[in-house]
Amino acid sequence: MKGNRIAIAPYVLIAPAQLLVIALIFVPALYVLFLSFHTSSFGQAPIFVGLQNYVAILSDGYFWRALTNTVIIILIVVHLEIVIGLGMALLLASWTRWRPALLAIILAPYAVTEASAVVIWRFLFEPQMGAVGQALTALGLPTLEWAVEPMHGLIMVALLSVWLHLPFTFIILYAARLAIPTDLYEAGAIDGATPWQQFRRLTLPLLLPAMLIAMLFRYIFAFRLFSEVWLLTGGGPARTTEVSAVYLYLEAFRYHSFGTASATGWLLVLASFGLAYVYLRSIYKEMFRGQA
């Protein structure tokens, strides 16, 4: 009797968390898989169409455009973040004065909602009057016409995303840097290592795992990019700055084509799991180690 109660207790404790996740994420996600093989719209019973939705989106130019934009933005944003974030982490780690205040300034963009970030960046890059717009003109450089030029729109989205998500990348690298024991550097200094050698042989290899984790998470989260694009360009002009999530949104909520939206959604899910495969496998191995 007592043994029985002990065996049940943990399942009762995890039940609320599991039920929420199952009801609101797992079951809907499975239903999206089901819908992706059907045509469906408001008030219409799903009709089985096999792979037709996948064929439809894969032969849709807008889908490929959105996917290309997504990949371009991810490649720019994530790698810029890693490089700048690493620089910032090493800079702050070698800094002793006002560290809490500097940390607060660096973390500040974490508090900013996408809606505010868009206000800020529209203001700064306003072509005629904005501070950056004026500075670019003064330097004889072209301003960012993000509302007109698709490429400029994507650059704005990328800049804004880097700004918004840098605190996340920074803090992971900063914490990893602080975790490196100082005597390693002292030993390096005694052996006569130059700062560059210390960075190449010591800092970089020891930070590599943290860099991979930060990159992985940013890849997965950048893949769902929606709000920045939606609020800045709405996917326009003429659907040229759409990303995958915006494409999905338009299919589902503007054209009410739940089938093709679901097919897009399921491809997003597969891509996310594909990106996370190595990470999930290592977690799985760690968890089930020593259990038959």
Partner: protein
């Protein structure tokens, strides 16, 4: 001699780099707040006016012309507090179970919890939107609270677990020998001792729920519309004409959460490191 000179140059270089970092991270935010206190003619003054008489005109106009931003702030507050309470409670219970018990099924469920978090939120809106409408939950605080909790519970659970793991099991066992139930152990022993972890998780949830846009955009329209959504609509409708009012709106949404982050940055750092490495 030469070494000292190169040292001075490198510290000058470092100082300049740090200045650049501060300008990049902090100036855009400072600019919004400062500009919200300027008259329209000063906002785009060239060169930028450093000295001006602060005015609350923009805030007065915000109150008079776009008052629904304040309703939005109130809705955000309800959703944030609701999400925080529910997610902390649910995560604490699950984290305790994962910290103190071992079984194959528990490992399976923990793995499930981590994996499910990888599903992009927008995907599940496709079937949820009609379901939420059918249940009459559209445009309610409740739907946002449970959705936010569902997406936050795995991070919350595993961050909290790293903190509970540090509490010696002997304390639980002593309490149980004294006749405490599991729930009493959690509320009387674990809760006070894992306060740090609870605050770390709460900080994340508060920032997330206060700022979330996508679910609010899809599932609310008027009654439960949150502040980020109201702000985005204001920014769109004014189309750059009434910048001062938009800045005032952005400031009232941003300043409270910014102060909150500054006050709790210690926990944010602790939680982010625990969360990023533990799943």
């Amino acid at each position: 001699m030469a070494k000292r000179k190169s040292l001075r140059i490198s510290s000058l270089f470092k100082a300049l780099a740090m200045l650049a970092v501060c300008v990049w991270s902090g100036l855009p935010i400072a600019l919004i707040f400062i500009s919200s206190l300027k008259l329209p003619r000063d906002i785009f003054a060239s060169p930028p006016s450093l000295f001006f008489t602060p005015t609350f005109d923009n805030y007065a106009r915000l109150w008079a012309e776009a008052g629904n931003i304040f309703q939005g702030l109130f809705n955000s507050l309800i959703v944030t507090i609701g999400t925080m309470s529910l997610a902390v409670l649910v995560s604490l219970l699950a984290a305790y179970a994962y910290s103190r018990y071992r079984s194959r099924w528990l490992s399976v469920s923990a793995f499930f919890l981590i994996a499910i978090r990888l599903i992009p939120p927008i995907v599940i809106t496709i079937p949820l939107f009609p379901a939420v409408n059918a249940l009459g939950l559209n445009d309610t605080h409740f739907i946002l609270i449970i959705l936010y909790t569902a997406f936050f519970v795995s991070l919350g659970t595993f961050v909290m677990r790293t903190f509970i793991d540090q509490i010696p099991r002997e304390l639980d066992e002593a309490a149980i020998i004294d006749g405490a139930s599991r729930l009493q152990v959690i509320s009387k022993v674990i809760l006070p001792l894992s306060a740090q972890g609870i605050v770390a998780v709460a900080v994340f949830i508060i920032v997330y729920a206060w700022n979330e846009f996508l679910f609010a955009f899809i599932f609310t329209s008027s009654f439960a519309k949150t502040a980020p959504l109201a702000l985005a609509e204001l920014n769109d409708s004014f189309d750059g004409v009434q910048w001062g009012v938009v800045f005032a709106a952005a400031s009232v949404q941003l300043v409270p959460i910014l102060l909150f982050i500054i006050m709790t940055q210690k926990y944010l750092v602790a939680g982010l490191t625990a969360g990023a490495t533990k799943g």
